[in-house]
């Protein structure tokens, strides 16, 4: 026993343990079954759930089989119609869940800390309050749904698969919006951390969740795969690794299941020379030494201005030494246990590779066991594996830059695009960087801020879809039915009969603002019955490649104001009107007129689709900007070859995208006619590129292209293939319906949430 005079000498903090008694009482009710149809099944086929900090078994839970998943989906299906039909009940239940979480906050916090290894301070002060906040927020959406989303329908049954880093918080992010929208859910918690989900199941009984509305099945990857594969599931929402996200994208291709993916990240943490360096150092603590660095949006790549790099580095190294690594249940612990020995081994392996590749390592201290000290990898080159690979541990790299453009270049040199943190006392500079960084969430002079009313989600290989706020609600509501048009026929490139009507007309591909011959040097006869409408150039994969390159060079379009783009689109309507008499040899006059009206419609929208300022925390501006994807691929429908093409091209253009268009295979000539008209309407070269040819081949090349950011596909015969191929860079694929409207604009932008705390 240490005496008080001894403590007065050392001024040590001493132990401050949180009691585990209530959590252990609850765990003693195990082993645990599955939560299906409002009750727990008999425990079966058990596996151990371990406490990583103490290397002990906490509980045994059931490994759900395919039959169990099927039972859960059936229960969810049976409960769904009544649940969707009663928004008042949904609001009451979600409110009750928020209150129940608060009433059991300490039990949840302790259980989460035991199961995951994260410090009790974080579960108590961050995870659990955010969980309650999420249920409150979505109780409100249940009430407001009919007003704010008229005519929207729920998907039906949602399959939800969540990771081990924020077990209960990720459950809340998935379950709350799904239920608010009228869906029922089958949720699989991570194999390593299922316990708070099971406690939540118990809370569901207390809160009056109708049987079958929430189903929780524990298990491993096989259980998750069974959910993904189940025919009765209408939507999959997944948070986890990019690799698993890719396999889910492939598995659900063509199934008609809606999909949102929140995947990995390698987020930049940019420190400008005028930053408050102490604030930025503390930002690193909150970025990567929060939750043991097991955070998908962790700012793991520090990019610091050369002029302040040495000062920043020294302060960061000093700060590492005051971080306390150890018992997660001690209230004075900053960094707890790594979730599993396997994860610790992965972290250590990656760090070793980083050091072998030349990184200078600075480490804090950590006790023996499943613990990892804070690690700074200094002097890393961009080629270092620790700069490119997601580590999911308390490891951060440090690189320097010379100028703001170089900072952005380094920041965006990654396949991910989840988050970014920018430190500068100059808001002019900070906003410039925020606008340029490829990330779904940007924090200015802050990091790792979350709120139920702030959209969260990534760009690029960090996935698609948003969680939280109005934007997150749309992920749980059905959009219009995808187009159900005819499949393309066979292209016969051999010379055919039929004489030209008058002087021979030549149609070329339209790439980079110029008419180009097809790379393959071939054309095919486009027929209307026995009448030859003309010859279309037979594009191939190289033409697609060239078109994508041309689109990338046309970045000026994206930087233009909405008003400038509106002028160009109005001018295009004028040009179309001027040429309507020539086009009518290819398409009916009504379609031309509809095309002109469609052009006027999106010209009208070009300067009007605005982002939002979300109500999150006091003294914060939380912006939800609408940003163009950049280069988008468009697969047009077979029918209405002019209007079908315009219906995809125009909303994409209006929002600032540059596009590569694969027109109708049956009649690409009308779309090809657009090429010169675009040029005559002041559309800059490269903004619209049109490549005719075999739709399936061209669409496959576009879908597989890693430098195409998104796809809209109105050709159902290739939808499955396109979705499958899109898994390479995880570009979102929108199966476009016929028509026009806000949905078309929303599909052509991605949300960038920018947090700006303020205070003089």
């Amino acid at each position: 026993m240490t005496t008080i005079p001894e403590i007065l000498d050392t001024m040590a903090y001493g132990p401050a343990p949180e009691s585990t008694a209530a959590a252990r009482d609850w765990l003693a009710r195990g082993p645990f079954g599955l939560f299906i149809g409002g009750s727990f099944t008999a425990p079966d086929d058990l596996f151990d759930v371990r406490d990583p900090a103490r290397d002990t078994v906490l509980a045994q839970v059931t490994h759900a089989t395919e039959a169990d998943v099927d039972a859960a989906v059936q229960a969810a299906r049976a409960a769904q119609p009544a649940w969707e039909a009663d928004p008042a009940l949904r609001a009451r239940v979600l409110y009750a869940l928020a209150r129940q979480v608060q009433k059991r906050e300490r039990l949840f916090a302790v259980l989460e800390s035991l199961d995951n290894g994260k410090p009790i301070r974080e579960t108590r002060d961050i995870d659990i309050p955010l969980v309650a906040r999420h249920f409150y927020h979505h109780a409100g959406w249940a009430t407001l749904l009919a007003d704010e989303f008229p005519n929207a329908r729920a998907h039906g049954v949602c399959g939800q698969i969540i990771p081990w880093n924020f077990p209960l918080l990720m459950l809340a992010w998935k379950v709350a919006p799904a239920l608010a929208a009228g869906n029922t859910v089958v949720l699989k918690p991570a194999e390593d951390t299922p316990l708070t989900a099971l406690l939540f199941a118990k809370i569901c009984q207390e809160a009056g969740v109708p049987p079958g509305v929430v189903n929780i099945v524990t298990g491993d990857g096989a259980t998750g795969a069974a959910i993904v594969a189940h025919d009765g599931v209408d939507k999959i929402a997944f948070t986890g690794s990019t690799e698993v996200g890719q396999s889910i994208r492939r598995a659900t291709a063509g199934s008609g299941k809606a999909l949102t993916l929140e995947l990995g990240g390698k987020s930049p943490f940019i420190v400008m020379p005028d930053a408050d360096l102490d604030a930025a150092v503390e930002g690193v603590v909150d970025a990567v030494w929060f939750n043991q660095g097991e955070v998908c949006c962790a700012g793991t790549r520090i990019l610091v201005a050369e002029s302040v790099a040495e000062t920043f580095r020294n302060r960061l190294i000093a700060r590492m030494k005051t971080l306390r690594v150890g018992d997660p249940l001690d209230k004075s612990t900053d960094i707890g246990a790594i979730v599993s020995p396997a994860q610790l081994a992965r972290i250590r392996d990656l760090v070793a590779k980083g050091v072998a590749a030349g990184a200078v390592v600075h480490e804090g201290t950590a006790p023996d066991g499943c613990f990892c000290p804070p690690i700074l990898l200094d002097k890393v080159s961009p080629a270092n594996p620790c700069v490119s690979e997601e580590i999911f541990g308390p490891v951060v790299t440090l690189q320097s830059f010379r100028t703001p453009p170089e900072a952005i270049e380094l920041a965006n040199a990654t396949r991910y695009g989840l988050a970014a943190s920018i430190w500068s006392e100059n808001l002019t500079v900070a906003m410039d960087l925020a606008a340029q960084v490829k990330a779904g969430v940007v924090w200015i002079n802050a990091t790792n801020m979350f709120d139920a009313n702030a959209p969260f989600g990534g760009m690029r290989a960090s996935g698609f879809g948003r969680e939280g706020a109005r934007e997150g609600m749309t992920a749980y509501l059905r959009k219009g039915q995808p187009a159900q048009g005819a499949a393309p026929g066979v292209i016969d490139a051999s010379p055919a009969t039929g004489t030209p009507d008058g002087l021979d007309r030549t149609h070329k591909l339209y790439i980079g603002g110029a008419q180009k011959r097809a790379d393959g040097g071939a054309s095919w006869s486009v027929m209307s019955g026995d009448t030859r409408l003309g010859h279309a150039p037979l594009g191939n994969r190289k033409d697609i490649r060239n078109a994508v390159d041309a689109a990338h060079k046309a970045g000026g379009w994206t930087k233009m104001s909405g008003h400038q783009r509106a002028q160009v689109l109005y001018f295009l309507a004028e040009t179309l009107d001027h040429h309507r008499d020539g086009l009518d040899t290819l398409v009916p006059m009504e379609e031309i007129d509809a095309g002109i009206a469609c052009t006027m419609y999106y010209a009208a929208w070009a300067d009007k689709l605005s982002g939002a300022v979300h109500n999150t925390q006091s003294a914060h501006v939380t912006l939800a900007m609408r940003e163009a994807f950049g280069v988008v691929g468009l697969i047009c429908p077979e029918e209405t070859p002019l209007l079908g093409a315009l219906s995809l091209i125009l909303p994409a253009m209006a929002m600032g995208n540059r596009v590569v268009v694969v027109p109708s295979q049956a009649n690409p000539l009308a779309a090809l006619e657009l090429g010169p008209m675009l040029g005559a309407s002041d559309v800059p070269g490269g903004v619209v590129n049109i490549v005719s040819g075999p739709v399936a081949d061209l669409a496959k090349t576009l879908a597989g292209h890693d430098d195409v950011a998104a796809l809209a596909c109105a050709q159902p015969s290739v939808a499955q293939m396109v979705e499958h191929e899109s898994a390479g860079n995880l570009k979102p694929v929108w199966n476009a319906p016929e028509g026009q409207g806000r949905d078309w604009l929303d599909a052509m932008v991605q949300v960038k949430t920018i947090w700006v705390p303020y205070g003089a």
Partner: protein
């Protein structure tokens, strides 16, 4: 106060930088949530707070008898059974007693035989808006009365107007007037408002030779807050890094609870380290805080919650 004086260094405004208020507020909030001190450790930290306390009375109705009563409490802040129960060999004492200049003589007399220094506010406390020669004369008076520490106030107008040379020169003159007494520079941070002002004023005060920088007079609308304390601690760290000289820190005003005493000490431990948990480099300017600490310590000894009326008044 055993620490050597902080010698003046040339005025250098190039070290100023913007301090981000929301980030400082986040750090201040999380800092105290990140550390929990329980049981015997908490008792020790509260005893340490007593040793670092400038037990203060700065009221218009102060009288020599009132000051003598306060000095009695400074000599015997805890009841004997509590001292014994805590396992202490000796009765602890407060770090200093802090009074107005005209009360210094009474305090010195009442503290005779103890090692407790008397600190005096000076320089037209609390507003400081008196001619400089009168302010310097007041310092010399207080030192002459026996004050070993002088808590001066700065001219806020120099900060608000960005007249750093004037601020520097006045503090240099005040330090000179202090002679061998240690000088604490009160920045009146509630009047300076922005943390960037607080940082700049801290740096100038240290460059001008302040031995301590102190947050508040206790008379401003906002007194000691953790974000301000954090900013001043970082200034102390930066001044040390630039010059090698060590400066102490004193938050004052508005701190009433034992929990406050723990929080401020956690700030010192985390941002500046163990040395700034000693009275030579850390003081808590407080009056009612001691009463709450006393109650907490008695509870630690007896296991029963304590009542203030059973403790000696300050």
């Amino acid at each position: 106060m055993t620490h050597p004086h902080n010698p003046a260094t040339p005025l250098d405004t190039a070290v100023f930088h913007g301090v981000n208020r929301p980030a400082a507020a986040r750090r201040a909030t999380s800092l105290t949530a990140r550390r929990s001190i329980k049981g015997a450790h908490q008792a020790a930290w509260l005893l340490n707070a007593i040793a670092c306390m400038d037990l203060t009375t700065l009221a218009g109705d102060d009288t020599p008898d009132r000051v003598r009563r306060l000095c009695g409490k400074a000599r015997r802040p805890l009841a004997d059974p509590v001292v014994a129960g805590l396992g202490l060999a000796d009765m602890p004492t407060t770090g200093a007693v802090c009074v107005y200049p005209t009360m210094v003589a009474a305090a010195v007399a009442a503290l005779e035989g103890s090692d407790i220094p008397v600190a005096s506010v000076a320089t037209g406390f609390p507003a400081g808006l008196m001619p400089l020669d009168l302010r310097l004369a007041e310092i010399r008076y207080a030192v002459d009365q026996g004050a070993r520490e002088i808590d001066i106030v700065i001219t806020r107008a120099h900060v608000l107007g960005g007249d750093w040379a004037a601020l520097y020169d006045e503090i240099v003159a005040m330090k000179d007037a202090c002679g061998t007494a240690h000088m604490k520079a009160i920045l009146a941070t509630g009047d300076l408002v922005t943390l960037s002002n607080v940082y700049a004023a801290s740096m100038v005060a240290m460059q001008a030779g302040a031995d301590f920088i102190k947050t508040s007079t206790g008379k401003e609308g906002v007194n000691a807050t953790l974000p301000v304390g954090l900013t001043m601690c970082r200034a102390i760290r930066d001044h040390r890094a630039a010059t090698g000289h060590v400066v102490g820190f004193k938050p004052a005003g508005g701190m009433k609870s034992a929990k406050d005493a723990l929080n401020w000490q956690i700030l010192m431990a985390e941002e500046l380290g163990r040395d700034w948990l000693r009275p030579g480099l850390f003081r808590l300017g407080a009056s009612s805080m001691l009463g709450d600490i006393e109650r907490q310590l008695e509870h630690h000894v007896t296991g029963r919650y304590a009542a203030s009326h059973r403790h000696a008044l300050a």
